[in-house]
């Protein structure tokens, strides 16, 4: 397959209003197609996106609404091997038992099932969050002292 030829085909399809090109010649079959319009396009997009998320609460919420929600770059990870540790409650995220103390875990730390990962403070109670899996911490998505909402992803753990 001549990739330059293919590239040109892609460009042609991209810049057109077509949804598909199919070519079969001399035993070679090429089929290019664009994503089919999802039903989502029928939903009023201004209604369902974007809403202010806890991760970007700031004093000018009106502005937030205009900005697309920052998406965490996940390209660097093989997500099939990543376990996402999610916040089981609303509260304030702390990486260590006290401001002076060392963090429970860092990027690179190896954890086991049951290893203490962080604390979420809610109603003055310190809730200890333990790991549900063993593996290596490869990313910490929330900064110390930041509020987190239910289901917010806190850590990536790479399973062995």
């Amino acid at each position: 397959m001549d990739l330059n030829y293919l590239k040109k085909l892609i460009k042609m399809l991209d810049s057109s209003n077509l949804s598909e090109i199919e070519i079969e010649e001399e035993g070679t079959k090429i089929r290019l197609s664009k994503p089919k319009q999802k039903i989502a396009t029928q939903l009023p997009t201004q209604i369902i996106t974007p809403y202010p998320s806890i991760t970007n609460i700031n004093p000018q919420p009106a502005e937030i609404k205009e900005k697309p929600e920052p998406t965490t770059s996940t390209e660097e990870f093989n997500m099939s091997k990543i376990f996402e540790v999610k916040a089981p409650m609303v509260g304030t995220f702390y990486r260590s038992p006290s401001p002076e103390a060392k963090p429970y875990v860092d990027v690179g730390s190896t954890v086991k099932e049951g290893t203490l990962l962080c604390i979420i403070e809610a109603m003055k109670l310190m809730n200890e969050i333990e790991s549900e899996v063993g593996g290596k911490i490869v990313k910490i998505l929330v900064e110390n002292g930041q509020p987190v909402e239910y289901n917010q992803v806190l850590f990536y753990i790479e399973k062995p």
């Binding site: 009023p44 369902i48 809403y51 806890i54 009106a62 409650m89 609303v90 809610a122 509020p147």
Partner: protein
């Protein structure tokens, strides 16, 4: 005034409160379950925090999660809306302990009205009329028989902690008594965590009226007329109107004054509703007090030109009631349009593919619905409240019928037809019905 209020509720009522906050220049925090990610109360609040999975116990009824959200967002006050935690004294107490203003009455006031039997004794003690019935809880069959001898059938069995039409059982024959008592006890234990019951005379031909009350922290209490809630199905309110065609000025003032007297007796603050039954001879009985915003509050707002949610917030902030007496004008009716399952035993589900509300003169729509809205069977499937205001009752009925005709909902079944039936019924037009409207059809 508060800078930021958290709304501990969802959907239409949460949006209702957000709208008033927007107009008052108060920032809002919405809470939501994972099922409500695309809800309008989330869309229109200044901040929104996901607090849990779809089950109410894990989200909208979960006190720690809501309090924690108020803490991380620096909200100063919490409005509980009109369901979920709105009449939960424990929640009001925890708000207080967490230095959050609960927008509603003090926990002690909520508590004093929770047990309907004890509150009935209180109402009686301050000299207001109550429905004749047992002087104590019913312990056994004999206690009940004594009352029945006195008043005859039917009688009403009531749970001490009954609410929202739950915990009421009407007995027509002595043979049914034993079983009904046992059933109600079991149900009460299960739903309210308390199995105490009492018994009352059944008021035949009764009309159900609620008087809207507002009280501030300086001890001023006013009433904003009545809402007629006589049209009920299974003891649940279905359609309300203001004013009531059954009341004249004298009766309205008498009931209004009694409602104020009751509210004063417990030093009530905030918005509340004193509920009455009136018999065909216009003898009225005070039955209970709801210490929350009610689903039908908009009809009072339309007739009295007032924003009750704004008053709630002002009162919670310590402001005095405005002395300015508003003059009621016109006639208002509310119909609540719900999604219905074609199979009556199942909860409605599905996507509302088209949502096109009615418009024009005298129509108010309170709704958090939109085209593309997905109905979650774990929550009350309210599509919209239609509220009309017109010069008189006849015009209001015609306007509501016009609104129902205009209202287009596709993708799910609704209860629209039941309202068309009621509003075109000659009995309704001539106000010739009572709380048993559906039972006597």
């Amino acid at each position: 005034m508060f800078n930021k209020i958290l709304i501990a509720n969802r959907g239409e009522i949460a949006l209702r409160i957000i709208r008033t906050c927007m107009e008052m220049g108060i920032k809002t925090v919405a809470v939501y379950s994972t099922a409500d990610k695309n809800a309008l109360h989330v869309r229109f609040a200044d901040e929104a925090v996901c607090i849990g999975p779809p089950e109410p116990e894990e989200s909208y009824l979960n006190i720690p999660r809501i309090i924690a959200t108020a803490e991380i967002t620096n909200a100063e006050a919490i409005h509980p809306g009109d369901g979920y935690l709105a009449e939960n004294a424990e929640f009001a107490e925890i708000c207080f302990d967490s230095k959050l203003v609960f927008i509603g009455p003090d926990p002690t006031m909520i508590k004093s009205t929770e047990n309907k039997f004890l509150f009935k004794q209180h109402i009686k003690n301050i000299g207001l009329p109550v429905i004749p019935g047992s002087e104590d809880y019913i312990k056994n069959h004999k206690d009940a028989e004594q009352i029945i001898e006195q008043f005859g059938f039917p009688v009403v069995l009531k749970s001490a902690y009954g609410r929202e039409g739950m915990g009421i059982s009407i007995i027509h024959r002595i043979e049914d008594l034993e079983k009904a008592m046992q059933n109600l006890r079991e149900k009460s234990q299960k739903i309210f965590g308390n199995n105490q019951i009492y018994i009352e005379k059944f008021i035949k031909g009764a009309r159900h009226i609620g008087i809207q009350i507002l009280g501030d922290k300086s001890g001023n209490i006013v009433h904003l007329g009545e809402r007629d809630c006589t049209i009920q199905r299974n003891n649940k309110k279905l359609l309300e109107e203001c004013p009531s065609p059954f009341l004249d000025i004298t009766l309205r003032e008498q009931m209004g004054n009694d409602a104020i007297m009751l509210a004063k007796s417990i030093k009530y603050t905030g918005a509340g509703t004193v509920e009455f039954l009136i018999d065909p001879d216009k003898n009225f009985y005070v039955t209970e007090m709801n210490t929350r915003l009610q689903a039908e509050h908009p009809i009072t707002e339309e007739v009295f030109h007032i924003d009750i949610v704004k008053e709630q917030i002002r009162i919670a902030n310590g402001n005095r009631l405005l002395k300015k007496k508003t003059i009621p004008t016109g006639h208002s009716i509310e119909c609540r349009i719900f999604a219905e399952s074609p199979d009556k035993d199942k909860l409605p589900t599905g996507t509302i593919t088209t949502y096109h509300p009615p418009g024009g003169n005298g129509i108010r729509i309170d709704s958090s619905c939109y085209s593309g809205f997905v109905i979650n069977p774990l929550n009350e499937p309210l599509i919209a409240k239609i509220i009309v205001i017109a010069g008189d009752r006849e015009s209001a009925i015609k306007r509501m019928l016009r609104s129902l005709d205009e209202f287009i909902v596709e993708g799910v079944n609704t209860n629209k037809s039941i309202f068309k039936k009621i509003l075109t019924d000659p009995k309704f037009k001539s106000y010739n019905y009572d709380t048993e409207y559906f039972e006597t059809q």
